[in-house]
């Protein structure tokens, strides 16, 4: 399948961009928010903002799961690692700042912190080294949570426990839409999280808030068409929920994955870095699987974490209130080599994505 080429046709992109220009009212600013780091990557990598009229603002919401892990949960994992537990996690978590130290800093102090590509790697490690205690730091949105659920249901070895830090996207979108000074006009909903949850969780946005929502894929034409669809809804004055990513997202989502998640997780209120507590936005392990819960089994006590280091504006970047370049630390004190804020760490973080494009522009 040559999906990439087909969904990157520049001629078609130019035609969609022209339609977009026709639909944006000349005198108004239209603000459309996406909530996925991969959408921001697509927009920056392909220079899509340069195709859009200046009064159409496409902003990045809290769509990077690594960026919104609160410092307290990093602190808890760091303490477990320093206590001698082997911590396994995805690579982009390693340098996320905790209140005092990152997992990478703990590793340099001798802690056993291992990067895995998949949760199944953590299961294999625990099987191969039965005398060691392992923890998998389970971070991610609805796209990632089902894989954790599968492994918990498979009853992994007892020397593997889980620090569940999964978060849910629709409650964060609700937070954004209710922020009076953000003035959003529409949402591009995340395609891959939506393969799991389907469309139903977004129904509330057009119904209750009059907010158009279009679920979109990750090729440049997907994003441009999603913008076009939202603008058309605004023009017609009929906000609704639409699916642009029909090749991967179905109305009901992935029912198998949803059932696995329901068996394993409860939904609770959860802190998001820099955003505070969002109701019903965090997954926790059900009591039935309590033996696997590193949070309750190790009962590490951590103080309220320091989410933002002095000067860091990540809390404004993750809700699209400022662009990374408006942060005084961006590419000065805060760089990919030495990140101050979490948005500069992950390849899905808005600041990190912006540095890549800026670096590319600077090349002759």
């Amino acid at each position: 399948m040559t999906e990439k080429l087909r969904f990157r046709d520049p001629k078609l992109a130019k035609r969609v961009a022209e339609k977009i220009r026709q639909l944006v009212p000349k005198q108004e600013t239209v603000k459309i928010c996406h909530v996925c780091g991969t959408h921001e990557w697509t927009i920056m990598h392909h220079g899509l903002r340069s195709l859009l009229p200046k009064n159409l603002k496409v902003i990045a919401g809290p769509g990077c799961p690594v960026c919104i892990v609160p410092a307290s949960e990093i602190d808890e994992t760091v303490q477990l690692a320093l206590k001698g537990v082997t911590v396994t996690c995805f690579g982009d978590l390693l340098r996320v700042p905790g209140s005092k130290m990152s997992l990478l800093a703990a590793k340099t102090q001798g802690a056993d912190v291992r990067i895995v590509y998949s949760i199944s790697d953590a299961v294999s490690m625990a099987k191969n080294e039965p005398k060691k205690d392992f923890v998998f730091f389970a971070v991610g949105f609805e796209t990632t949570a089902p894989s954790t659920a599968v492994e918990v249901l498979n009853r992994p070895p007892e020397n593997l426990r889980f620090l569940i830090s999964h978060r849910l996207i629709p409650p964060a979108m609700k937070l954004l839409v209710e922020m009076e000074d953000l003035n959003l006009n529409g949402f591009i909903a995340p395609g891959h999280a939506s393969t799991i949850i389907g469309l139903r969780p977004y129904e509330i946005f057009p119904k209750r808030y009059g907010m158009p929502v279009v679920v979109a894929g990750f090729e440049p034409l997907d994003v441009l068409f999603a913008l076009y669809m939202i603008l058309k809804q605004l023009k017609e004055g009929e906000p609704r929920l639409e699916n642009e990513y029909v090749r991967a997202v179905h109305w009901e989502g992935n029912v198998k994955a949803q059932e696995s998640m329901q068996k394993v997780f409860n939904v609770a209120d959860g802190n998001w870095r820099g955003l505070g507590s969002i109701p019903k936005s965090k997954l926790t392990l059900r009591r039935k699987y309590g033996d696997y819960d590193a949070h309750s089994e190790y009962a590490i006590r951590v103080a309220e974490g320091v989410d933002l280091q002095p000067g860091c504006q990540c809390h404004l970047v993750v809700i699209g209130k400022i662009m990374p370049s408006e942060c005084p630390l961006f590419m000065k004190e805060c760089t990919p080599q030495k990140p101050v804020g979490a948005c500069m760490v992950s390849s899905e973080g808005t600041c990190r994505i912006w540095t890549k494009t800026i670096n590319r522009k600077r090349q002759p």
Binding site: M1, E3, R6, F7, L12, R15, V16, K19, Q22, L23, C36, G37, T38, G63, C64, P65, V66, F90, D92, Y117, S118, I119, S120, D121, V139, G140, F141, T143, T144, P146, S147, V150, P190, H192, A193, T195, I196, L221, F225, K235, E244, V246, R247, A248, V249, H250, N254, K256, A257, S260, S346, E348
Partner: protein, 79 residues
């Protein structure tokens, strides 16, 4: 981190499948979350297939877009 890449299923053994990400990169993934068969394209995220891709829908999406762009007049003319 919500990155997911399409891959073609080459063989299946219980919950595990060997998939081709293109360019002859083969990797074992877990397919417990989907109902897929050999030859299907699946979206793979962190070692797990999260959905089966619909090739027919992909083709139809592109056709639909072309039709919309071809037939639709500019918004000012339309109203």
């Amino acid at each position: 981190m919500c990155l997911a890449i399409p891959a073609k299923i080459m063989s299946i053994e219980n919950d595990k499948a060997k998939v081709d990400f293109g360019e002859n990169v083969l990797r074992e993934i877990n397919i417990a979350l989907v109902s897929a068969k050999v030859g299907d394209y699946v979206l793979v995220h962190a070692g797990y297939a999260i959905q089966v891709m619909d090739e027919k829908e992909a083709q139809e999406t592109l056709q639909l877009w072309n039709e919309i762009l071809k037939t639709e007049s500019s918004p000012s003319q339309r109203q």
